[in-house]
Amino acid sequence: MTRTRTPGISRRSTLALMGAGAMSVAAPWVARAQAKTIKVGMPTILSGRVAQLGTSSRNAVMLEVEKVNAAGGLAGRQIEMVIRDSKGQPQEAARVARELVNTDGCEWLIDGEASSGSFAVHEVARDLGVLCVHTCSEASSLTADPKQHIPNAFRCVRQGIHDSIVGGSYAAAISKAKGLKKWATCSPDYAYGRDTTGEFTLYLKRFAPDVEIISESWPKLFQPDYTEVVTKILQAKPQALYSCLWGGDLTSYIDQANIYAMFGQMEVFAVNMADYTALTVVKNLPKGIHSGNRYIKTFPTTPENAAWGDAYKAKYNEYPTNWSWQNATAVMFLAEAAKKANSTDGKKIAETLKGLTIKCPFGADGTVTMRGDDHTLVGYAIGWGTTIPQEPYVPEVKAGDWKTIFELEAEWKKSKGYT
């Protein structure tokens, strides 16, 4: 009996079409699995007022990626960075992050966003399940709050609470030694400014209970003129001032406070001063401003840190920023995790990253650790010192003690209901 062919699509054609369809649907994943390069997406801020920091993040990542690629890549795969501008807008950061994964085929994300954008990218990582390392957001809740926790996201950044513990205890010691009881604060009026100031004064008062905050100023972010703020502080006549103004706002503030001779009338504690972005821009840097370290190549005082700062300067003709070292460390962590896992699979890398300790130029003891229980960076060099108007800008930095940080951080987490 012969079978006659019916008009229309044959079974063979149907199977072929289905096969082709399946292949076309699966193609990106097949291609991705077989790709020699691993694409890593990076939404960061490359335009607007914070563009300098975003650019320095990109520079630091590329500096480290070139080293990794020159050494043979990650588990035999070369890294290809796909870096996009989020313009510093959370919704744009989320859109770009999603596009990097879904359209560009990026397997991991390095998130170079400030606090506002990082939470948006975090939700994208939660949704897509992609490995994500936050590299710029200092907001403690990003990793300290258990509600934010996802197994595939890590934070490779200094933290507000760590800075406040070290800064508060440093300031309290000076406060007691010099009898600085009347304090004023002047910080930008947004989440970072409010939180960081609150945490700093919390620890300042804890270690120096007789301190009193007699004046608070909350200039808006990117305010061009601080004259009324400066005169208000002068009227209050505090003995010491704390500020977490940063970048161009800090330099404007210093320039304007300088001509009122404010720095001779009180001790000033500006946590964000000791970063080259501010140190090299202020033309008449006052002597004796107390600051936390951001990126400075003389702290930690090791040849590795100095060499890294010099290598960055040699390549980009400027000194790195606080965001630079954090982004560089992220690449170091990812490279080490891929080496240990002998894989570039996101889930395996995430498992390997938990509790991983690596050698790092920015470590307090030459190493840094990605803490396992809350996926955040610990062990980085952290300290405070006073400025001078020329290099090395902060000649002596008093290092913070990580044992104390851990103890007080645990207390703080408990008080916030995080543990």
Partner: protein
């Protein structure tokens, strides 16, 4: 709200001197920007939304000139003259083509140039913030007047702005060219029929407005960080000044700027979390009670 602090300040001579001077500094710098804005509106009937860019260019021109020459006077000259030339070119090449167009079209063109100018600055000077630094002559101890603190540089700033206000006021009311400008503002067709080149007048007024904003930027450069987009916040405050004083009124711009400066200065003591809000509240009160602004004229 901290009314005790405000009351304490009002009863202290040192505080009064410091805060009043602080208000004058803020106000006079604002006046220089706002007067250009109001002048351009008064004569050209253009709401120049790109005016803040001239303040930004003035600051960058001054910084560059200062870095090249080390002369503060040349830096100020570069800031003012550079923006005057830029204003003239901008008016002749672009803005002159949208006279008489819908206000929305004018605003869109101006806004496009705000973004273009910001990118131009980014291309030339880079995206990072910069600082000009205070000239050595002004790196001196502040003056103490009745116990209040007054930096010498700010006295210069107030003086320059005051001279600009007087010259502008007398120039427009007494000189021949001032009369021609005022005539062109009221009836450009008649002025043109009399054989006067209105294009030249318009270009000149735009250049003058740009120059004043540029001078403000140059004067601000030693004490403010320079960054692409720095003109925007100044522009918004200048608009408030212009609206409070009355669109097109130079005296209104002066009074409006001084009032705003004093509100900021004393408001930071009494209403530290509502200083910005106070400015807007004041604007609303003025506009509700006198919709044309304090010195604005009713439409005929």
């Amino acid at each position: 709200m901290d009314l005790d602090a405000l009351a304490g300040c009002l009863s202290s001579s040192s505080c009064l001197v410091t805060q009043t001077t602080s208000g004058l500094i803020i106000g006079m710098l604002l006046f220089l920007v706002a007067v250009g804005l109001t002048l351009i509106f008064g004569v050209l009937k253009i709401v120049n939304f790109s005016h803040g860019a001239f303040y930004m260019f003035g600051a960058y021109f001054a910084m560059t000139a200062y870095q090249l020459t080390g002369s503060f006077a040349l830096a100020m000259l570069a800031g003012a003259a550079g923006t005057a030339i830029l204003g003239l070119i901008f008016e002749r090449v672009f803005m002159s083509r949208v006279y008489g167009a819908d206000v929305l079209m004018q605003l869109l063109v101006c806004y496009a140039f705000v973004l273009i100018f910001d990118d131009v600055v980014r291309l030339i000077w880079g995206p990072e913030f910069r600082s000009m630094g205070m000239p050595a002559a002004f790196q001196v101890m502040p003056l103490f007047i009745a116990g209040g603190v007054v930096p010498p540089y700010y006295l210069l700033l107030i003086g320059v702005a005051l001279v600009a206000a007087i010259v502008l006021g007398i120039g427009l009311s007494r000189s021949r060219i001032g009369k021609v400008i005022r005539a062109a503002a009221h009836n450009p067709g008649m002025v043109s029929a009399l054989g006067i080149n209105t294009g030249l007048i318009y270009g000149g007024v735009f250049a003058l407005g740009g120059m004043l904003a540029g001078l403000a930027g140059a004067l601000a450069a030693p004490v403010r960080s320079l960054t692409p987009g720095m003109g925007f916040s100044v522009l918004i405050e200048s608009f408030i000044v212009t609206v409070i004083g009355g669109m097109g009124s130079i005296l209104g711009a002066l009074i409006g700027a001084l009032l705003l400066g004093l509100i900021r200065s004393y408001g930071s003591l009494g209403f530290p979390l509502f200083t910005e809000g106070l400015m807007y509240l004041f604007m609303v009160i003025v506009l509700v009670s006198k919709p044309t602004g304090l010195f604005g004229k009713e439409a005929a």
